[in-house]
Every structure is written in structure tokens, then in C-alpha cells.
């Protein structure tokens, strides 16, 4: 066989594509299977693959041919004490030559780097030499030594550097399929070098993979320390410098920190950020700003405004299998490995505000070392609720900014979803992805239109308005591509939910599930994920029976597909237990929770956040069953671990405090409960903002505690405040809003205002009060003053009827 006919090639090409995507081992297996189908083609393929191996060994076509513009070279020229031997490369900043000393004082070879920059005056040249010498004093085993700096007779500045042979750190890691631990170890060497420079008051300013080389022995060397600064002093602004410095011009500063883009102060925190990008890249194989193509303006926006997807999610966005293989694991394992600590560490290094990042490179290194030793890390994770709360807060102060960030987040998530799908649909990718990208772009720009000044003159646009517009047009806007449509609906539904706008979230999530069931099938992981999202929403909305039904479906499929002890199956079980508990079916809930807990302790470990959450759920069930001391014991145990492992500000910790105070109250231990509630409130007001549902919940509980202590007026004041915020934020029909009405009814009854109490009770029941609250209305001691009032008797009958009608409906 010689050259291919085009017909022959077209026949072979897709198979070759597939075979090349497999590892050697898998390739042999696949070929064997394939031979059974097409023995003729299999022979050809085998030959070609053999040829492929040979070509790889020969490095066929791997090196560029000689350059068109090569002129008489500098070879043999001398530069001070150095003789140039050969041209070894051209980087962003200039040409690099291999050279050796000619005065015989050292044997060693050096690299001479000519910088693309004309030194304007003698003064500048002097300064360049002077600063070069300062940098030369940075002696560290992982810093490539700067031996000399000078300016040629022609005015071209050059640096004489330690000659380092090695690979870029990311390529080195990938080629050797280093696992996550080994990558972190290597990265720690980089950190030690940067830390050393920082203690000598030198900031690198341009940390990126091509500046971090690793020798074949595994020695890390950082190049070009402080060189960016050496050049930057000459330019007018920091941003301009970075942009012009990068490469032969058009390269965009992928590793620059936000403050480098906006002209802010360059500090050691700038290096911390770039190191964060590098770590993100090493761990996930992708850049925090996501894959290209992107315009420079978008990149600037991504760097300065958008929070990157957390590292473990970014794994999904690459060609996950290839990416995970390079780290010696499966995609799922890699995601699990990154989830938690590493997500948190990377996110902290990548904070937009320098002050929120690690205070020093050493602090970052310490956390990574703690992580490797399985000790708790110092950084606290951002929860999605926290991020969403930040949106809401920012909204008030700078609506436009927040809107943009939100949209970019959605766009980012969308891109992630799309990427994940590319893995599965390799074949028809070329056309379809382009179409899809186009559709999304079109849809997104439609969303943006609202913020166009002509469409919204003088009005502040909130994130919510943007979402509202988008959710109205999504039915029609993306009808051509239901899969993408469903994914976007899911994303938007979740954003609504995190903003506490449940009524808007539900139809979107429901539609997403419907569409995915049709298009992807009911067992598809994405369908299941959407079903779970919907269940969570139904739970917070108080639609427990619906939640239960849906969760049982999800659970069945997950058990069947993933096995009963898979973390996702266990999550389904505990969600189901929660729905059952909310319906008052405590014994069933307790049994399920204990089952889940036993598995999670074994599979995830006793201190895993999910295990802790289940323990907390179980304790709540016990409280509901009246087993207060048993519950308290569990809650205090969990709280101790959560404070240590998750930190005092974590929503999980706050939830446990909330449940513990409730338990204490039911035992009549008000003073203890009040202390915990104030503690939780302080954190929630600060972290989530005063209007977040969780903050409202704690506020309401504090009011109950105060009421228990007899401080009715104060309790009532708080409840009224909570009521007005809940009506606005959660909606008048939300179970939590109704519960606040109920609590106000109790307070009225306690103070002898019976008419008011009765009308509030009726209002609460009519506006979504949870049945398990109003079915026990006769037993509620706070309502004692109403006993004997015939109107109360009538109300109880009304409530029971309503509950009966409600359960029949289900």
C-alpha cells in the first residue's frame, strides 16, 4: 500500500481517529474486536498503527524546518566574556542563544537572552544592568541563576542566564503521567523558589508554564525572575507592559492577575494568583478562564470579573478521559480527588481581590502540605450559596457588575457543559459544536440586550431581570437544540434557586428534566442530576410528597446503574430520608439515615462533610421523635468536627448549630440556645447577608427562643421583620413565610390577643404552612390561651380537613 486514494482515506480516517485516541493496551483490545467485524480494514489499520509508532520514535515532522528569514547568524560572535554557540529558541521576550565563557574561568554553558526592546538612553541601559545584578543575587536551587545583564553595542539588552535543559512543567507532568500528589510535590518546589524570591523582595510577575522547567531528573527551575519588572519600568502602565511583553505581540496574558490587567499594585499576591493559575492547569489540564477561543476583551473580563469554575468541575470540561489518564486515574477519581481541599486551595489562590488570596506563597505551600498529610487546611471553601449571596449583595451596590458576573457565570457553566458533551460526541463534533456555540452565543447576546442602555434607559438592571428575560425566551430561543436548551434551563433554574426565587426555578427545572428524559433517556447521568436538582428544590419549597416520589425514581435508577454504595446513590437515599422526615414519617427516615450513615462512614470516612450532614439529619429526626438527649449528643459531636474541618462559617456548621438550638429549646434550655443563635446570626449576616433565607431562619429561631424566655415584644419585633423580608424574598406562599405567620400567631396568643392569633393561624394554613406544624396545633403549649374558644375548635377541624384533602391529592 502506498499513498491513499481519497476514497480509501475517508473510509479509514474515522477508525484511525478512534484507535489513536486509545491507550496502547486498549488499542490492541479494540483492534481484536474490530477484526471480527472488518478483518480487511483491521489489517490495514494495524499496519498504519505500527507505522504510527515508528513515526513517533523517529519524531517524524516534529521539528520545524529551517526558517525562511534566517540570515547570517550570530554563531561565533562574542558578547562580553561569552561566545555564542547556537540559537536555541525564541520566546515571547526575545531570542535565546546557547553560549560559553571564553575567558576559561568557568566551563559552564549559559543561555543568552536578547530582549526585544531598544534601550532608549544610556541611563536606562545603566539601570538595566544595575537591576540585573540585583536579580543575580537570587541564589536558590530552583531558580535559574541570572549571571549577567548587559546591553550590546547596538543597544540591544541581553541577559546571561543559567542554561537549563528541561520541559515545561505541565508537559513534563503529562508526559510522565504524574498523579495529583506528584504534581503537587513538584509544584511545592516552584513555591519554595518563589517564596525565596519574595523574602528578597523580588516579585516574578510572569509565572507561567514556559517559565517553569523541569529537568529529566525532576529538578524544577524557575526562569526569568523579575525580568518583567526590568522591562516594565520603561513602559507607561502595568497593563500595557504585560500586553506588549507577551510574545510576538498578540498573545494575551493568560497567567496575569486581575491587578495586572487593571493597573493595580503589583505585589507578592500577584505571584500567588499566577501560581494559582498554574496549579489549576496542572491539576485539571485546563485554564481557569476555560478553553478558547476568546477575544482579548473577554479574557480580560474573565480574569478581572468571572469566578472560574471550581477545579473539580473543570475536569469535566476537558476531554476528561485523556486529562485523567495523564494523571493516572479515571475522570471520576480525579474529580473526587480534587473536590474539597484542592478546590478550596486553588480558589483561594485565584481570588480576584489580592487581599482575599493567601497572604503569602508560604501559606499556600503550607495548605498544600497539610492536604498531602491529610490534615485540615486553613482555607475555607466558597459555597455556591455564598457565591450567590455575594451576587445579591453586590447587586445592591453595583448592579451592572453583578449582572455581568452572573451572566458570565452562566455562560461559563454552559461552556463547561458543552465541553463535557464533546467527549461523548467526538464524531460529529466539528459541525455541531460550531452550530451549538453559535446558538448559545446568539441566545446569550439576547440576554445581554436587556442591559443595552437603549432598552433599559436609566433603570438599574438586576441579575433577576436578566434571568427573567432569558427564561422567557429560552423556550423558543434554543428549541432547535433541546439538549443545550435543557442544560441552560437547568443552570438558570439552579441560579434562581440559589437566589431564593423558588417559584421561578421550578418550571425551568421541570422542563429540563422532561426534555432530558426524552432526549438523553431517563438513566443518563445528566437527567439524574437534573432530577436531583428538582428534588432539592421541591424540598425547600415544601412539596415533600412530590419530592419523595421523584427521589425514589432517582434512587432506583442510581442504585441500579451505580450500585447501592455509590456516593450518588447514598445522596439520593439521604434526600429521600429528609423528604420522609418532613412528611412526619420519622421512623422510616431514621432507618434510612442510619443505613446511609453506616455506608458513608465506611466509604467517605466519618469526617467527610457529607457524612456529617447525614449525621445532622439523623439528629434532627431524633429531635422530632422527642429523643432530645440522644440528638444533642450527636449534634455536639458533629459540631465539634465541623468547626474543625469545615470552619465556623461553613453553612454545614451553621445548620448544625441551628438544629442544636432547636433541640435545646424543645428541652427548655433557652439561654444556651440563645447564645448559639447569636453566634450563628453574626456569621450569617456577615457572610450571607441579612436577607438570605438561612439568616431569616436563624432570626426566626432566635425569636422563638426569646418568646420561650418570655421576651414577647422583642420576639414579635423580630418575627415581623422576618415576615416582611420573607414575603418579599421567598414569596407569600413559601412554607417559611407561613411558619413566620404561625409563630406570630403563637406570640399573639401568648399575649392574650386571641382574635389576632386566630386570624393569623388561618392565614398561615392557607398560605402553605407545613402540615406537620398545623396538625399538632392542639398540642402547641403556646396556643393554650385559645383552648376552649369554639373558633379554635373550628380551626382545628378545618386544618385536619385540609390535611386530609392534601394527602388525597397526592
Amino acid at each position: 500500500m502506498s499513498a491513499f486514494s481519497s476514497h480509501r482515506w475517508q473510509e479509514i480516517s474515522p477508525y484511525l481517529d478512534h484507535a489513536l485516541s486509545l491507550s496502547d493496551e486498549a488499542r490492541a483490545d479494540w483492534l481484536a474486536t474490530f477484526r471480527a467485524e472488518r478483518s480487511d480494514l483491521a489489517d490495514v489499520l494495524e499496519k498504519l498503527l505500527e507505522e504510527h509508532r515508528e513515526l513517533a520514535q523517529e519524531h517524524f515532522l516534529e521539528y520545524q524546518p529551517a526558517q525562511p528569514n534566517a540570515e547570517p547568524s550570530l554563531t561565533g560572535d562574542t558578547l562580553g566574556a561569552y561566545k555564542l554557540i547556537s540559537h536555541i529558541g525564541e520566546g515571547g521576550m526575545g531570542n535565546v542563544w546557547l553560549a560559553e565563557r571564553i575567558d576559561g574561568r568557568f566551563e559552564r554553558r549559559v543561555a543568552v537572552k536578547f530582549l526585544h526592546l531598544a534601550m532608549a538612553s544610556q541611563g536606562v541601559a545603566e539601570r538595566f544592568k544595575r537591576e540585573g545584578r540585583i536579580l543575580g543575587q537570587l541564589a536558590h536551587p530552583h531558580i535559574a541563576e541570572l549571571i549577567d545583564a548587559g546591553v550590546t553595542l547596538k543597544g540591544e539588552p541581553y541577559l546571561v542566564l543559567e542554561y537549563v535543559r528541561g520541559n515545561q512543567i505541565d508537559e513534563y507532568c503529562d508526559e510522565r503521567t504524574l498523579g495529583v500528589d506528584a504534581r503537587i510535590e513538584l509544584f511545592l518546589d516552584v513555591l519554595s523558589a518563589v517564596a525565596h524570591a519574595h523574602t528578597n523582595l523580588v516579585i516574578h510577575r510572569d509565572i507561567k508554564p514556559s517559565n517553569v522547567l523541569v529537568s529529566s531528573e525532576g529538578d524544577v527551575k524557575l526562569l526569568d525572575f523579575g525580568i518583567a519588572k526590568l522591562l516594565a519600568d520603561d513602559a507607561s502602565s502595568a497593563a500595557a507592559t504585560i500586553l506588549t511583553l507577551q510574545g510576538g505581540g498578540a498573545m494575551t496574558p493568560l497567567f496575569a492577575a486581575p491587578e495586572q490587567m487593571t493597573g493595580g499594585a503589583i505585589t507578592t499576591a500577584t505571584d500567588v494568583y499566577s501560581l494559582g493559575v498554574l496549579l489549576y492547569l496542572l491539576l485539571t489540564g485546563s485554564h481557569p478562564a476555560g478553553p478558547g477561543p476568546r477575544s482579548a476583551a473577554n479574557l480580560v473580563k474573565a480574569i478581572t470579573e468571572t469566578d472560574p469554575p471550581i477545579a473539580s468541575q473543570a475536569v469535566a470540561s476537558w476531554e476528561e478521559t485523556a486529562c485523567a489518564e495523564k494523571r493516572g486515574v479515571t475522570p471520576d477519581k480525579l474529580r473526587r480527588r480534587l473536590r474539597g481541599d484542592l478546590d478550596t486551595i486553588v480558589a483561594k489562590a485565584l481570588k480576584k481581590s489580592p487581599r482575599e488570596r493567601y497572604a503569602s506563597v508560604t501559606a499556600l505551600a503550607d495548605d498544600l502540605r497539610r492536604h498531602l498529610r491529610d490534615e485540615p487546611i486553613s482555607a475555607r471553601p466558597d459555597t455556591f450559596a455564598y457565591r450567590a449571596a455575594k451576587f445579591v449583595r453586590r447587586n445592591r451596590t453595583a448592579a451592572a457588575l453583578s449582572t455581568l458576573a452572573l451572566i458570565l457565570t452562566i455562560a461559563g457553566v454552559t461552556a463547561t457543559l458543552l465541553q463535557a458533551r464533546m467527549v461523548r460526541k467526538q464524531r460529529d463534533l466539528a459541525f455541531r459544536e460550531r452550530d451549538r456555540a453559535h446558538l448559545i452565543t446568539e441566545f446569550m447576546s439576547g440576554m445581554f440586550k436587556v442591559s443595552d442602555p437603549s432598552e433599559a434607559r436609566g433603570k438599574t438592571i438586576t441579575a433577576r431581570e436578566i434571568l427573567d428575560t432569558a427564561s422567557k425566551s429560552i423556550d423558543t430561543g434554543l428549541a432547535k437544540d433541546p439538549e443545550t436548551q435543557a442544560q441552560l434551563m437547568g443552570v438558570m433554574g439552579n441560579v434562581y434557586e440559589s437566589l431564593g426565587l423558588y417559584p421561578s426555578a421550578q418550571p425551568l427545572l421541570e422542563q429540563a428534566v422532561d426534555i432530558q428524559r426524552q432526549v438523553l433517556g431517563p438513566k443518563n447521568p445528566e437527567t439524574l442530576k437534573s432530577m436531583s436538582d428538582l428534588v432539592s428544590l421541591l424540598d425547600v419549597e415544601g412539596h415533600y410528597a412530590e419530592a419523595e416520589k421523584l427521589e425514589r425514581e432517582t434512587l432506583d435508577i442510581r442504585r441500579h446503574v451505580l450500585g447501592p454504595e455509590d456516593p450518588e446513590s447514598l445522596t439520593s437515599m439521604s434526600q429521600l430520608a429528609w423528604a420522609l422526615a418532613q412528611e412526619g414519617r420519622y421512623a422510616e427516615a431514621e432507618k434510612l439515615d442510619r443505613e446511609v450513615l453506616a455506608s458513608q462512614r465506611r466509604v467517605l470516612g466519618p469526617e467527610h462533610p457529607t457524612t456529617l450532614k447525614t449525621t445532622d439529619d439523623l439528629a434532627t429526626v431524633l429531635t422530632n421523635e422527642g429523643r432530645y438527649s440522644e440528638s444533642e449528643g450527636l449534634q455536639r459531636e458533629v459540631l465539634g468536627i465541623e468547626r474543625r474541618v469545615l470552619g465556623p462559617e461553613h453553612p454545614g456548621t451553621l445548620l448544625t448549630i441551628n438544629n442544636l438550638t432547636w433541640n435545646l429549646e424543645l428541652e427548655g434550655r433557652y439561654a444556651e440556645a440563645e447564645k448559639f443563635e447569636h453566634e450563628a446570626l453574626d456569621v450569617e449576616r456577615r457572610v450571607l447577608g441579612p436577607e438570605h433565607p438561612d439568616t431569616l431562619r436563624t432570626n426566626g429561631n432566635l425569636a422563638i427562643t426569646l418568646s420561650g424566655e418570655g421576651h414577647y415584644a422583642e420576639a414579635e419585633r423580630i418575627e415581623r421583620e422576618v415576615l416582611s423580608i420573607s414575603r418579599r424574598v421567598l414569596g407569600p406562599e413559601h412554607p417559611d413565610t407561613a411558619r413566620t405567620l404561625y409563630n406570630l400567631a403563637c406570640l399573639a396568643a401568648l399575649q392574650g390577643r386571641r382574635d389576632e392569633a386566630l386570624s393569623l393561624l388561618r392565614e398561615a394554613v392557607d398560605h402553605g404552612l407545613r402540615p406537620f406544624v398545623y396538625l399538632q396545633v392542639e398540642k402547641d403549649p403556646d396556643l393554650k390561651s385559645l383552648h376552649g374558644d369554639p373558633r379554635f375548635g373550628a380551626f382545628v377541624a378545618y386544618a385536619k380537613n385540609r390535611a386530609a384533602a392534601g394527602s388525597k391529592q397526592n
Partner: protein
């Protein structure tokens, strides 16, 4: 300004299948790249080589200007320019080959060692094979132009096309098998 606009318009026309426009585009880019290479060399103090990658970036900046052009646009440009760059390199190789016979002339190359006359010939054959490949799978041919002739990394090419590095590499490996077949068939006469 005027000629810059024209180049962009030519790309559009060529993409719509306008053959004369494609030809005009090729020669326009060819002379533009040559002009730039000469100018860059003249501008520097020392006579040092400039990499094709740098040259293409510079060309793009000059042609597209500072404002508003997107990366998607840049990718289209690079695709065309890479093909032109190949032509430039092949011509240079032929030329160099001729000069070498005449006397002493040093060549610097980036990666290494394709340095003899046989290689120059092989380069022309690879170029011909690439033109054949471009008829069947143009995307593969473009990757080879970008990677082998212009020195873009897989990661950069991936970023241009919004696919991952590994995918680009796989396509390139596939193209390499195709090219080797063609070149070897030629060589085995």
C-alpha cells in the same frame, strides 16, 4: 488601511468559495509576510531569525489592527496564513539549497536538524502531499501547516479551534501517517 481591509474581505470571499479571491489572498499574504520578515530583521540591532509564529502574530496585528477583531477571526486568519507560510518556507528551502551549493551560509533552526538537501526535497513533497490531504480533510492539513510549518503548539492550535490539545495531537498524528505514506511512496521510485 485600505489594503488591510481588503485582506480581511478576501478571507471572507475565499471562505465563500471564491477561487480568484483565494488566489489573491494567497499572494497578498505571501508578500505581506515577506515584507514583515524583512522589516523585522532590519529593525533589530542584530541579524537574528524570527520565528514563523511570531511573524504570523505580527502580521495579524498589522492586518487586523488593534481594535475589536475576535479570536475566532484570528483563527481563520492563522489558518490561511499558515498555508502561505508553508509556501514561503518551501521557497526559502529551495533557495537556501541553491545558495548552499554556492558557498558558506549558516542556517539557524528552531527545534533542530533538518539540514540537508534531501530534506529540502522532502519538504516539497510533504507540501504536495499536504495539498492532496487538504482536498480530503482540510482540517488535518491545516493542523500540519500550523504545527510543523509555523511552530504553533498543540495547545495553541487547540485554543484556536476550541478543542483540547489531545484532540489536535491525535489529528496531527493521523495526518502524519497520511503524509508519510505519500512521501514514502514518492521516495520509493
Amino acid at each position: 488601511m485600505g489594503s488591510e481591509r481588503t485582506l480581511l474581505a478576501l478571507i471572507d470571499a475565499a471562505e465563500d468559495g471564491n477561487k480568484p479571491a483565494a488566489d489573491a489572498l494567497f499572494s497578498a499574504l505571501y508578500s505581506e509576510l515577506r515584507r514583515l520578515a524583512r522589516r523585522e530583521l532590519a529593525r533589530r540591532g542584530a541579524p537574528i531569525s524570527i520565528s514563523p509564529t511570531t511573524l504570523l502574530h505580527k502580521a495579524y496585528i498589522e492586518i487586523a489592527g488593534k481594535d475589536g477583531t475576535s479570536f475566532a477571526h484570528r483563527y481563520r486568519f492563522m489558518g490561511y496564513a499558515a498555508r502561505v507560510m508553508r509556501g514561503l518556507i518551501i521557497d526559502h528551502a529551495r533557495n537556501r539549497h541553491a545558495q548552499k551549493r554556492g558557498g558558506r551560509f549558516e542556517i539557524t533552526s528552531l527545534g533542530a536538524e533538518i539540514e540537508n538537501a534531501a530534506d529540502d526535497q522532502k519538504l516539497s513533497r510533504i507540501s504536495d502531499a499536504l495539498d492532496e490531504l487538504a482536498k480530503v480533510e482540510p482540517a488535518l492539513a491545516e493542523i500540519v501547516d500550523l504545527k510543523f510549518f509555523c511552530g504553533f503548539s498543540f495547545a495553541e492550535i487547540g485554543a484556536m479551534r476550541n478543542v483540547c490539545e489531545r484532540t489536535v495531537q491525535r489529528k496531527w498524528e493521523k495526518a502524519r501517517i497520511y503524509l508519510h505514506r505519500s512521501v514514502r511512496a514518492d521516495l520509493e521510485i
